[in-house]
Symmetry: C2
Subunit: 295 residues, 2 copies
Amino acid sequence: MTLNELIMKNAAAVDAALPTYFETPEAALEVLYDAMRYSALSGGKRIRPFLVTEFCRLFGGKEEAAMPFACAIECVHASSLIHDDLPCMDNDELRRGKPTNHMVYGEDIALLAGDALMTRGYEIAANNTAVDAKTALIATQKLLFASGAVGMMGGQQIDLKSENVQIDFDTLLKMHAKKTGALIRVSAELGCLAAGITDENDPRMQAAVEYACGIGLAFQIVDDILDATGDVATLGKMTHADDALGKTTFLTFMTIEEAQKYAKEVTEKAIAGLKDYENSEMLVEFANYLLHRTK
Amino acid sequence: MTLNELIMKNAAAVDAALPTYFETPEAALEVLYDAMRYSALSGGKRIRPFLVTEFCRLFGGKEEAAMPFACAIECVHASSLIHDDLPCMDNDELRRGKPTNHMVYGEDIALLAGDALMTRGYEIAANNTAVDAKTALIATQKLLFASGAVGMMGGQQIDLKSENVQIDFDTLLKMHAKKTGALIRVSAELGCLAAGITDENDPRMQAAVEYACGIGLAFQIVDDILDATGDVATLGKMTHADDALGKTTFLTFMTIEEAQKYAKEVTEKAIAGLKDYENSEMLVEFANYLLHRTK
């Protein structure tokens, strides 16, 4: 199987599993569930679920243990996009080439749908019965930590407070490590947990974390490059948004060529730790795929 | 100890415990933590924490097992108020006599603070080490269920879609059972869990749920009465908001006198199930206190 086939196979499995968590339980809640489904089931690359299932597989776990964690993280990710797109935040009208949630359902329902999708994501992790109760609890704790004020949401705050302000390189790194990095990291961690690795000091968990942090950083460097060089038709979203908002990016500190080199170095470091493990080729290839993506 | 002294003692314990969960971990996150603290530590009646600790006590549990659950629910409650007050929702400028979160921190930070406070609340429940892992997991599952799309947030959606629309009495009941009832109910449930009662069919759990559902309903009936009859100075918030928004309330279906009688009957039914248990006097008195409150 090629990497592309594996990515599509994994995405299809996630796309098949996700709707089972969003069946409208009663007619009075139809609007909210419609709005939740609109964002949760809107496709996308399913990068985070891929990491969950592939790390689980790499370390000998079963897909049924990984899938709820994969869906959980995707829900939290999708919920953050709904809130990010709101007028009081990034005020985006397009997401993955489609109208953003609030453009379709209104700001009030979009706000609620984000809240409910986030909560449902946490719940899917906590309700994972393919792992034991202790593992489900640890996974839920890790997901909450990664999503919350010291993780993704903290990164969003740093991002907001960095508009039209020159921030230094370390703050930029910290912002990305939280804003996008935390969910990517926890994807790898939950993959390990699904494979029964609960010890933070287990070298497999550490290799997974190092890989995830590295590709998370590289992902963001590439994102900045694409925002500066891509076009709407290819990306399916607005470009030059960073410029318009006066945001510090990696291109504030380096040229596009330097940023490409930096992303390559970070990726190489990320995959170095996986060399010890058999069958890690797809994860290695995946890191390079993210590095060379054009959208 | 009088009920009022007990309420104040419990509220003081919650007010002492809550700040320990909101120490700013790094300077870059100061704004977000300020905003979270602003709403989480703003006092209020601490009704939900009271239920957690009192049900735990009633059934022989220890306060240290109940306190994290009490704080967790209060965080989720406070987060819902931040989002409810936003311009795209109720557009309120005052809450408990103070400017609402977004009036102080702006809509963007308020949105994030709501997300982060909610997530922190779930995390505090999941991280409760005074109970075993299985109990912490069940409590977290129950809190997520009560807060999410079939609970509080679902109730908010029904509420939003009921503005300027005549809804029937059953829908009004369902809306309140979710919007405010779900968190009150889970407060009683988590109190039972803190006391080691994990079986849903345990008669103590069932009595607690019946009590909580009853006082939750009575609370909302009284809220509607106060909104129609109270004044800003006493309530510390805008009055006649329901009228202004064209909302269906209990007073759509009955007079103020009938609503008072209805709240009394519901309260009596709620406390009937506690009669079997020793030392339930304070909970009985608390139900009557909520019934007769003037703010």
